[in-house]
Symmetry: C2
Subunit: 359 residues, 2 copies
């Protein structure tokens, strides 16, 4: 259907969305070596096998290993298992890692690829909406520590991203909706027209109409690719716009159990950020209302998880990777399609938001 | 005494060798943040404390943790301990990691710095000759796996390297001599004049005459800095010259127990490489003789560890990070001060060398 270029000089790469031909030829033209190790989420093991077959027909041979599903796999222990498998396979520097699955597999296998032999080529095959529109694009890979999510990681750009939106048909309704939170985010931070399109086409998107899904994925990738191209390693501040809603979201996720979805936390976080912006008179009430309206239409939360734990959340925010010397930073909207980085927000204002909106 | 610049564009940095003023002002002008975590080898804990004090006087506050000495600390388990300490200290992206010790601490703490929060500033304070002339310069950091040394790692350039050659006075004779192997290597691969200077001044170098030691360290850093500047991430092949003797050495180290020193393996590996080059008529016999003469003068081995295990060593060489699709690559001299990368060497020729020179 379409190919999106992520422009990063010598590390540029393509995101193929519903392109014909299969992953074999796509990978073969983008890899120097002819060996691969496919790591697939256990839930998509069949797709992992098909991927290995298609790579084989294109002359790329290798092995397949499955990874237990769930966030718990983004651990040092599971990373050590992947390292061991790569060592057993006598992986050399041209052996590619192919990550088939959602964000967990992409982040974990991607981090193994970033660090084994000081860096292996990586091909991403995201199978969840969240992974397609967010985690597989931009080169961020990593694992969790007991102290917090994504505390360990690297920037490691893939050699290519292969997306088949048809794989989304098997995604649970909850996971599909959670992925839409990041899609809404792209509209809010960068593209008012896309936001309006989502409002107008919410039913088709929710019904997973193939053309609507393809547009959602392709436009989200385009928008993220543009940001990443301007700030590959989060150094200029440009990439920080992608964190809209995420300072809140990470706090909710750190404090919450493992049951929540990242997208649900992001939805609640974006709603909190909009309320904070409204309180600072950066946006009128109708912007908050449109955001919450679209999130609600998509079945996403617009308030933090109950019960409210403002102290715990604030504590987690101060520990956030993006905090500097404990000072909180927020990405706040000043209209639909544009955001600013604000770092002079008093903690009391944040606490009020966290307390008010708790159900 | 002297400062050497490693020119890597935005990642350029200085190596200060015996400069006045202490590490405090050196670090303060090179770090954005004012927080640090000092990781020191247990054997140089006192220097770790002094480093923390000097940083404190320059306005950089932080904590100190010691790391058990020995190669066994370059493990996933010890890495997890460092991550945990960094998390407890509420490390943000401007908090610097300061690595005080030899190659083990530099590689381990350096890899933690490369990956925690996707990258922290790193200051190297090498305290062994090997670390001063080799591992602290060039940005290579990493840990070992049960399957092999340095199989996991990253390229992460430090913000600065602070060297006080006076710390070498407490280094054991064996470790000091082992460090000289890499010094001899720089002469062999890049600088015939420096090689000749080492031959003429071997007694002063062995006696650790301060001026001789400072010259050894500064010239070695200069030579390595020049190579690293031309090939930061081992992509152009230029940096491969630094692997002279190392394909053999890594094999000896993989097969041997933990008693050997890296420098001793490198010395034996360089002697093997010279014999291989001589057999291919790349060099006359007197080049091999001069190399072995200097190594012997420095009390270093010129043969692999006994008993010979050619099959095991060859197997390890095929698994080496630099091997591609199992094909062996060697850096071989064509005169003193110049080497070539050769990758068409039959395994039988290598096996002969490995069998012949075993004591």
């Amino acid at each position: 259907m379409t190919t999106i270029r992520v422009s990063l000089g010598p590390r540029s790469y393509d995101i193929a969305v519903d392109e014909p031909g299969g992953i074999g030829p796509f990978a073969a033209t983008r890899l120097k070596g002819r060996r691969a190790y496919v790591f697939a989420d256990y839930n998509v093991a069949a797709l992992g096998e098909r991927t290995l077959d298609e790579l084989g027909r294109a002359g790329i041979t290798g092995r397949l290993a499955t990874i237990p599903p769930g966030e718990a796999s983004k651990s040092i222990a599971q990373l050590a298992v992947l390292y061991e498998r790569l060592a057993q396979a006598r992986t050399d520097r041209q052996t590619a890692v192919v990550a088939v699955g959602g964000g967990v597999v992409g982040d974990l296998a991607g981090f193994a690829a970033a660090t084994y032999n000081r860096g292996l080529p990586l091909v991403m095959v995201p199978t969840t909406l969240l992974a397609m529109v967010d985690s597989s694009v931009g080169g961020k890979v990593g694992i969790n520590l007991p102290a917090g999510k994504n505390l360990v990681g690297a920037f490691h750009q893939p050699a290519g991203v292969w997306i088949e939106t048809a794989t989304l048909t098997s995604l649970s309704d909850r996971d599909y909706r959670a992925g839409l939170a990041e899609v809404v985010k792209y509209g809010m931070i960068l593209d008012a027209d896309f936001f309006a399109w989502l409002e107008s086409n919410a039913d088709a998107v929710l019904a997973r109409d193939p053309a609507a899904v393809a547009r959602v994925v392709a436009r989200s990738c385009e928008l993220k690719a543009g940001v990443v191209a301007g700030d590959e390693r989060e150094e200029t501040g440009l990439r920080a716009v992608l964190n809209f809603g995420h300072t809140f979201a990470h706090a909710f996720e750190t404090a919450a159990g493992s049951d929540g979805r990242h997208g649900e936390a992001v939805a609640a976080g974006m709603a909190c950020a909009a309320r904070l912006a409204e309180r600072r008179r950066m946006i009128p009430a109708d912007v908050t209302a449109r955001l919450i309206g679209l999130l609600t239409k998509f079945g996403l939360p617009s308030a933090p998880p109950a019960p409210p734990r403002p102290d715990e959340w604030l504590d987690a925010m101060r520990r956030d990777k993006k905090a500097v010397a404990g000072r909180l930073r927020f990405v706040l909207p000043h209209r639909i399609g544009a955001v600013d980085m604000i770092d002079d927000i008093p903690e009391d204002a944040v606490r009020d938001i966290l307390t008010e909106v708790g159900p």
